[in-house]
Symmetry: C2
Subunit: 303 residues, 2 copies
Amino acid sequence: MSLISVGSLAYDGIRTVAGEKPRILGGSLTHFSNAASLKSKPSLVGVVGEDFAPAEWDFLKSKSHSIEGVEVLSGEKTFFWKGYYTEDFDIAITEETQLNALAKFDPKVPESYKKTPYILFLANMVPELQSKAALQCPGSVLKVLDTMNFWIENNAPGLAQAFKDVDGIIVNEGEAELLTGQKNLIKAAEMLFQPHFKILILKKGSHGVMVFTRDYMISLPAYPVKEIVDPTGAGDSFAGAFFSYLDAESQGGLDQDTVKQAAAYATVVASFAVEDFGVNGINNVSPAQVQARLDDFRKIVSF
Amino acid sequence: MSLISVGSLAYDGIRTVAGEKPRILGGSLTHFSNAASLKSKPSLVGVVGEDFAPAEWDFLKSKSHSIEGVEVLSGEKTFFWKGYYTEDFDIAITEETQLNALAKFDPKVPESYKKTPYILFLANMVPELQSKAALQCPGSVLKVLDTMNFWIENNAPGLAQAFKDVDGIIVNEGEAELLTGQKNLIKAAEMLFQPHFKILILKKGSHGVMVFTRDYMISLPAYPVKEIVDPTGAGDSFAGAFFSYLDAESQGGLDQDTVKQAAAYATVVASFAVEDFGVNGINNVSPAQVQARLDDFRKIVSF
């Protein structure tokens, strides 16, 4: 089994109440692979510019199985996002977006990635590109996409098509409400769950996560974090940890116990992500620390 | 062991998207005893007017160990509240409040209630009355109060004194933020937890509940309810189920496993409360239905 992820590579400029980082490694693919690599290193598909520094390449290589699918566009710079979070971390305010290389992203999933059964994760991006990547991977065991409010509001037809091209989605509370007009999350999940879906993951931030399949649902609170430093990438870290768990532990199988373990594990990994800027929260954590927090989480939750 | 509860008895006029009930039995004491009686019938302290109907007396008697502490004020009517809920059930809008007998409430805990060790629950009311009732019960194994935004905003000194007179509080998310100015609930709980407290219960509505003691914390999601009919009394039902569980199963002891079981049990009981108007949701439920939902909740949550 293996794990393929398609997403963005970026430089982020981030300001929170805890401090400011004018230019650090970011992007959905970065956070996904950083978290996934604790269990199973993914093969990456993304795009960067010529300014992508050697240290970032070293980081990506160390967190992935392969970077063959990461393209360098000559004459381009890497995607740059600058923003800040309000005091309660509820909202990210964008101050600057330079799409740069990402504007010309044309994902190609290398054939070498598809030699073993694989799970495909399509991070938030233009829905048409998600469809394109999904169609390159007809042999996937499971393919899931993430999205954001921008596409829901500005490209509903493209997103509707992308939903048809995958077997699951991961959205947050606000996106679920935007997609369905429904505040009751159980009803919203029912409306969102398409007949061909295998899984629907509903992220609730500091309130935890719900997972829906055809046969059952799961609901977990968040791991309690007192000092949030930077929530950027928490969702992609959750996804990376979740799908790497399924890759490593169940060959993509979705029985309730495995999915519950995966969701608990991913909850804990994501809790480390928000405790430092950028990739540092997870990058500096040991397997023993993850296991200790998972044991603690079980004591807090399981009855 | 026994359970004593001090609170309000009321007639409610309630309108929700599911329908309208112009005058049904309500009040914190009613919802508390309705839920508690599934495990352990409490002894009640409250006040009503002369209009309190025989059917309501029969209901109270059937759900309690004793109603010796329920006073009838001659020449008075029973407390009446009229309001409605917005479509997402987030906010209760008050249209009419007639305090009636409740304005003259002077709680007296009968000596007959205190012959065995007991837990004391003080539902939301004037903080000075909570202090008064608490001081009548120096022998309680555990005494906990509930409150509301009105007292936090209009009687902070009285509430601060009442906090000193109990060994625990039960508040919701909004009240915790109002009391501390802190949106991070873990930090808010830390600020609220006074050195003499044994327990702090933080209700998060559709997002579940957290319980804090000196030694550990617990966090549970809500039981997923798709069709909410009337959320009135859900918090008091949670409290009734929670403290009746401690009364029946641990003699008020607060080890982590027992408290977790109590919180899970109370979560499930409260989920029935919101599925019908007034007391009907819980009144019509069988022990087997509660147990089946508890088993289901464990499958959804425990890992």
